[in-house]
Amino acid sequence: MAKKPIGPVRRDFTPWESGNAKPFIEFRNVTKRFGDFTAVDNLSLTIYEREFFALLGGSGCGKTTMMRMLGGFEEPSAGEIFLDGQNLAGVPPYRRPANMMFQSYALFPHMSVERNIAFGLQQDKLPKGEIEARVQQMLKLVKLEDFAKRKPHQLSGGQRQRVALARSIAKKPKVLLLDEPLGALDRKLREETQFELMDLQTELGMTFLIVTHDQEEAMTVADRIAVMDRGRIIQVATPAEIYETPNSRFVADFIGSINLIEARVASRNGTVTRLKAPNLEREIAVSQPTDANVGDTVWFAIRPEKIRLGFDAPQNGTANAAEAEIWDIGYLGDVSIFHAKAAEDLILKSTVANITRTVERPISWEDNVWLSWDEDAGVILTR
C-alpha cells in the first residue's frame, strides 16, 4: 500500500525527499555564543532553492540569531554557513546575496518610499532608468503606486510593512530573510498578507527564510518548518507532518493543542500497538508505527479535533473510547472546545466543529459523554 499523504499537498515541490537535490543554504555545525549564553548550539540545517522555509520557536530559542548569521550581522562562534556553494565566513552583509526584511522594518525615515526602495539598487550602481523601472515595478507589486512620494511616517503600519518588503526584494536577492515580518500587523491584515507572501514567493521564485514565533503563520506560509528550542532544532518537516506526526512532546505541545496521555506499551501485534494508561479503563490501540518496546513508558498524543464526542457508547466494544464528564465548554463560533474529565487526573480536550446552526441535543456541563477516536488518529511519542 502506498504511503497515505498527510495533509494538503501545496504543490509538487519536495526537494528534501529526493536525496540528491543540491542544498542552497547550509548550516554546518553552527554554534553561536554570546558570553556564557549559547544562542545556537551545534546546529546543522539544509534549505533548498525556491523553498519557503520557516524557523519557528519561542523567544530566545536562537531563531533570530540563525537569520542574523545568514544576513552577516553576527559571525558564528563555530561552524560554517554556505549559500549557493559560497562559504559566507568573513563576508560582510553588504556583499551577501541575501536581503532582509527587518522586524522593525528599519525604513529610512528621511527618504521617501521610492527612495527607500531605490536605495539598494543605487548601491549596485545600476543605470538610472533601470532603477526607476524597477522601483515602479516594486511599487506596483506591493500596491503602493500612489504613495511613492510619501515619507515612512506618513504611512500606516501595513503600508510600511509593504515598503519594507518591496525594498528587500527590489535587488532580487538569492534569499529573502523575513524577521517576524507580520508581527506588527493586526490579525486580519496578517492573514491576508500571509497568503500574499506565498503568492509573491511563487511568483518571484526566490528562496524565502522566515523567522516567526507564530505557529499559524509558519504553517500557512512555509514549505517546511524547523521547530527550535534553546538553540537546537527539534524537528524539521512540512507543516502537516509537524502537526500530525510530531517527533516529541515539545513539538506536539508547541504546535496547536494536544492531549498527552502517559501510558505503557501493553502489546505489539503487527501494525497495531496497544497502550495501557493507568487512569483509563480500555486499552488504546494505535496504528502509527513506533519503535517502542513492550513495557516502555510512552506518551499517547492526540489532537482535540480527532476525538469524537457523543452521548452513546461506541457500538464496537473494543474500539478506542473513554467515558467522561463534561467539565468545561468554550464556544468559539466555528468550533466548540469541550474539556471532558475521563479520570480523576485526566482531562481530555475535544473540539467539535459547529457544522450546523442548531443542535438537536446540546451537550452541557456535567453531562456524561463518550469520547472515541480511530486507531490512526493519534501517535506514540517516546520523548
Binding site: P93, N99, F108, P109, R167
Partner: protein
C-alpha cells in the same frame, strides 16, 4: 453618553467642554511672563530709549532723562528730543560694521571648527558601550563645575610665550622658538571652541544616541558599506542635532566679550569688545546702546531660524 438634554438643563453636572483656566493656572503662566517682562523687555526698552538719546556730561551721562515732576509737557518734550543720530553714526564709522562682520566671521569659523571636533566626539560617545555613556557624558559636563572666567584665564597660562604649550613643544623639539598664540585671533578661536564645545556635543549626542542601529544594518544589508552608510543615513538623520548645536555655539559666540578681551590681541575686532570700550572707556552710553540694539537685531535672525527648526523637529517627533 448621548447628550439629548435641553440646553441649560444639565449645565452644572456636565463637565465644561472648554475647561476654564483656574486662578492657579493663570498664576503659573504669569510667572514666566512677568520674568520676561521685568528682566528682558523692560531693560530692552531702557536700552532702546538710551540709544535714542544724546551723550551729555551728566549723571546718567545722556540727555534727555525722564522727570515725572515735569509732568505731561516734559514727557512730550522728551520724546521730541529723541533721534536716530546714534544709529546713523554707526554707519558712518567703519569700526562698527567691521566689528559686526568680524564677530560674525569669528563666530562662524569657530562654530565650524567646533563641529569638526564635536561631531566625532558625540558620535564616539553615542556608539560607546551603554555602560560607559553616563561617564562620558559626565566628562563633557565636568568643565562647567569651574567658573568660565577661570577656565579662560587658565588658557592664558597655556598659550602665552613661556606657557605650558610652548614649553612642551620646545622640550620635544618640534619648535625652536616659542609660538606667539596668545593675543592673536588664533587664541580667540581656541577659547571659543573650547568653551562652547559642550553646547554642540550635548544636543548632537542626544540625536545620535536615538539613531536606530537597525537602519545602519538595513543599509549594510542593501549593499551599502559602513563609511557610505555614515554619509547617507547617520549624517542626514543627525542634522537636527547639528543645527541645534551650531546655533547654540554661534549665537553666544557673536556677542562674546570675555574670550576676545582676555585671549585676543589688539587686532581682534569683536562687537562685544567695541561695545565695552564704547561704554566704559568713552562713557558713550547712547552709542553703546545703539550697538547693543543692532547686535540684538542681527542675532534675531538666527534665533528665529533656530526656533523654527526646533519646532519642526518637535512636530516631527509627535
Amino acid at each position: 453618553m448621548v447628550d439629548t438634554a435641553a440646553p441649560g438643563a444639565d449645565v452644572e453636572a456636565a463637565p465644561a467642554l472648554k475647561r476654564k483656566r483656574s486662578l492657579g493656572g493663570w498664576l503659573l503662566i504669569a510667572i514666566p511672563y512677568a520674568w520676561l517682562l521685568f528682566f528682558f523687555l523692560a531693560p530692552f526698552f531702557i536700552v532702546f530709549k538710551i540709544s535714542l538719546s544724546e551723550i551729555a556730561v551728566a549723571i546718567p551721562p545722556y540727555l534727555p532723562t525722564f522727570d515725572l515732576a515735569e509732568g505731561w509737557q516734559g514727557l512730550r518734550e522728551n520724546f521730541a528730543a529723541f533721534s536716530f543720530e546714534n544709529y546713523i553714526w554707526l554707519t558712518q564709522d567703519a569700526l562698527y560694521w567691521k566689528s559686526y562682520l568680524s564677530s560674525v566671521w569669528i563666530a562662524a569659523t569657530s562654530t565650524a571648527i567646533t563641529l569638526v571636533i564635536g561631531y566625532p566626539l558625540a558620535y564616539g560617545m553615542a556608539r560607546a558601550p551603554a555602560a560607559w555613556r553616563p561617564t562620558l557624558l559626565m566628562l563633557v559636563i565636568l568643565p562647567f563645575w569651574t567658573s568660565f572666567l577661570i577656565r579662560v584665564y587658565a588658557w592664558i597660562g597655556i598659550l602665552k610665550n613661556e606657557g605650558l604649550l610652548n614649553q612642551a613643544l620646545l622640550s620635544i623639539g618640534v619648535i625652536d622658538e616659542p609660538l606667539t598664540i596668545l593675543n592673536t585671533n588664533a587664541a580667540v578661536y581656541i577659547g571659543i571652541v573650547y568653551s562652547y564645545l559642550p553646547f554642540l556635543v550635548l544636543p548632537l549626542y542626544a540625536t545620535l544616541e536615538k539613531l536606530d542601529e537597525s537602519l545602519l544594518e538595513a543599509a549594510s544589508d542593501l549593499g551599502c558599506p559602513p563609511w557610505k552608510a555614515f554619509w547617507k543615513i547617520t549624517v542626514p538623520l543627525s542634522l537636527p542635532g547639528v543645527i541645534a548645536g551650531c546655533f547654540l555655539v554661534f549665537i553666544p559666540a557673536v556677542g562674546e566679550f570675555v574670550i576676545p578681551d582676555l585671549l585676543g590681541g589688539s587686532e581682534t575686532l569683536m562687537i562685544g569688545k567695541t561695545l565695552w570700550s564704547e561704554f566704559f572707556a568713552n562713557r558713550d552710553w547712547p552709542v553703546s546702546s545703539a550697538v547693543a540694539v543692532i547686535l540684538l537685531l542681527i542675532l534675531v535672525v538666527p534665533i528665529v531660524l533656530f526656533q523654527n527648526q526646533q519646532q519642526r523637529a518637535s512636530e516631527k517627533d509627535a
